[in-house]
């Protein structure tokens, strides 16, 4: 059934359809619409689930860790400062190998207070052992949330479904809403590997000395290495039921491109339009959309960008003292190649600033007109007014 819905509600609908049994959350703008809808589903009986209204995001993640350990499908959602507060428990969830799914609405961190789009919150959690999947539109949000449960339960790792603040969370779009029967065919009931059982008592997450800890960490990486392949299978099966698929990366006009723009999130939608316009003008330009950030699909990225002359990465985030975070990952992925493209790292759209068609055109032209990047990070559209001398 096709209906107009907000990006936030695309998450909520997917969580309902996934038959999640425990939701725990703490409110933070712009995540609130997701959890408000879920509260309503629980209250009205549209979902057979318990909603635990906790007193912080730290407790929200702790509660879903408890619930998932006790053997049910569990979900939470957060954003920005809430995600930062959860940091300790993000490590906990992945190391406990719990298939928790969380929606994370990309929002800037303060100070100064800023509720708008920025990817630094989720990217700062890249080393926590969570799979991260970035979404472009409402349909992708709904579909990715469903895929996330399937993937998480397959590799026993938690998944973060990431969507842009407001540009996606608060934007209404037509979305195909699958039926419960279809979703049930795609997503079987959750079967935990091990759980809290008084008949079969185990101690879980206990003290682990040096003689075992390192192997436990290696096991997490071994599971991570499985993820791109497993995601392809999940994506393929999803496609066979719903007729839509995404891939860990998506390429647009990359085959003959001499320049490729690398994007993620809603900026990909704007970039698609710019690519089609530039192609009409005869420019050999393509787009690489990175959906899966963790694990980083380095092989796919290498195969797409290996023979390209120039790559322009657009980062709506920044790692202070280094560079844009997607650019870092890309440089690391491509450095092993004998012949590699020039990588231009652009910083744009922090704290909710618009990334428009003009932004992409400027980035493309600057890349074409330069033999090499003028600096490791090129900040686009900075005003001189607010800058320190």
């Amino acid at each position: 059934m096709r209906q107009v819905m907000e990006g936030s509600h695309a998450v909520s609908e997917a969580v309902r359809l996934a038959r999640v049994q425990v939701v725990s959350a703490y409110p933070i703008t712009p995540q609130t619409h997701i959890v408000e809808a879920l509260s309503e589903f629980c209250a009205e009986g549209a979902m057979n689930a318990r909603f635990i209204c906790v007193e912080s995001e730290h407790s929200a993640m702790a509660a879903v860790i408890g619930a998932c350990t006790a053997g049910v499908r569990a979900f939470t959602a957060t954003s920005s400062h809430g995600l930062a507060l959860m940091h300790e428990l993000l490590h906990w969830a992945s190391a406990a190998r719990l298939p928790i799914v969380m929606a994370e609405v990309n929002r800037a961190l303060g100070p100064g207070w800023n509720i708008w789009m920025d990817q630094t919150d989720s990217l700062a959690q890249r080393d926590t052992g969570w799979i991260q999947l970035y979404c472009e539109d409402g349909q992708e949000v709904l579909d990715t949330t469903l895929q996330a449960f399937r993937l998480a339960e397959n590799v026993h790792l938690p998944v973060m479904v990431v969507l842009d603040a407001f540009f996606l969370s608060h934007t209404h779009e037509p979305v195909n809403l699958p039926s419960q029967d279809e979703v049930d065919r795609f997503l079987p009931p959750f079967l935990p590997r091990i759980t809290l059982d008084v008949e079969n008592p185990y101690a879980l997450n206990q003290m682990s000395p040096p003689n075992v800890y390192m192997e436990m960490r290696h096991n997490i990486q071994a599971a991570m290495e499985q993820v791109p392949g497993r995601f392809d299978l999940v994506d393929k099966e999803f496609s066979s039921i719903f007729g839509r698929s995404y891939g860990s990366v998506e390429t647009v006009c990359c085959d003959d491109a001499n320049t490729v723009l690398v994007v993620s999130g809603t900026a990909a939608g704007t970039c698609r339009h710019v690519i089609s316009q530039l192609r009409l003008r005869g420019e050999k330009v393509g787009m690489l959309k990175i959906k899966m950030f963790r694990p980083f699909p380095a092989d796919r990225v290498r195969s797409v960008l290996g023979n390209v002359e120039k790559v322009a990465v657009v980062d709506r985030n920044f790692s202070f003292g280094a560079s844009g975070i997607f650019a870092q990952e890309l440089r690391a992925a491509l450095c092993a190649l004998d012949q590699r493209p020039q990588i231009f790292g652009y910083i744009a759209g922090l704290g909710g600033r618009d990334v428009t068609t003009e932004t992409f055109e400027e980035i493309y032209l600057r890349t074409r007109q330069s033999d090499r990047p003028e600096s490791e990070s090129i900040w686009v559209g900075l005003s001189s007014k607010e800058r320190e001398p």
């Binding site: 860790i65 408890g66 998932c68 350990t69 879980l204 997450n205 206990q206």
Partner: protein, 302 residues
Amino acid sequence: MNAEPVKAYQIPEGDSIYPGHLGCPGCGAAIAMKFALKALGTKCVLIIPASCWGIIAGAYPQTSLKVPVLHAAFATSGATASGVRAALDMKGDTETLVVAWAGDGGTFDIGFQALSGAVERNEDILYVCYDNEAYMNTGVQRSSSTPFGTRTTTTPGMGWKRTRKKNIIEVLAAHRIPYAATASIAFPEDMFRKFQKAGNRKGGSRFIHVFSPCPTGWRIPSELSVKVARLAVQTNVFPLYEVEGGIRYTLNTEGHRPVQDYLTIQGRFRHLTGDDMKHIQEMVDEDRDLLAQKTKAETRRP
């Protein structure tokens, strides 16, 4: 109100704690767990945050307990227990008791917010704080449970702690939870009765505060931990009482000994002068009078 008649409780022989656990000799927290599980039975799951008990319960791949244990992050006992409860309920298991088992640091300090959240929601859980009055597992640093006058490794020398111990039971009572009680390892029958009562009172939050001396941190010989716990009750330093619904108080004991008897046998108080002990006696008397007002005539002995 009539006082409950004094009964002798049959404490079962069997243990759900294996010999060979990792507690220090004389560990009050290990004694507390032994009696708690005797009363609660084996149809319970334990949530244990970072604490001495995180160690006593054993390192991978061993466990010292016969019930399932979920080790949890330090600040999360209340929230983790809430999630486990919700999941068990959703699976149709309302019988299994969910027990959070935390130290004073994990209860009075870092876990305080999650505990307050859980009991405000009146989660159907039993939260137990075994209180050894400092961060013992990390080497005796002060917590907000450390009493006035104590030397710890972060209140050393003449910098001994000059603020009161937080009154956690009154904080819990203020949440108007169905049942909150203090218990002591020196009064096993009273402790056993309270754990049974709390275990059986399903449907809401229950809290038991167990006084659990730490010979290492309190600088006492290991064979004195039960004696010190008894003196704490006999001097009114740690009165045994119950609060139902946050307002109905029952005092289980009356102490008549001077607080000096309790203080002078512990190395952690050795530096205190006669004036300091007099001041502590005044504080204890003040607390006793306040509690007496709340309990009115509802006094009985264990």
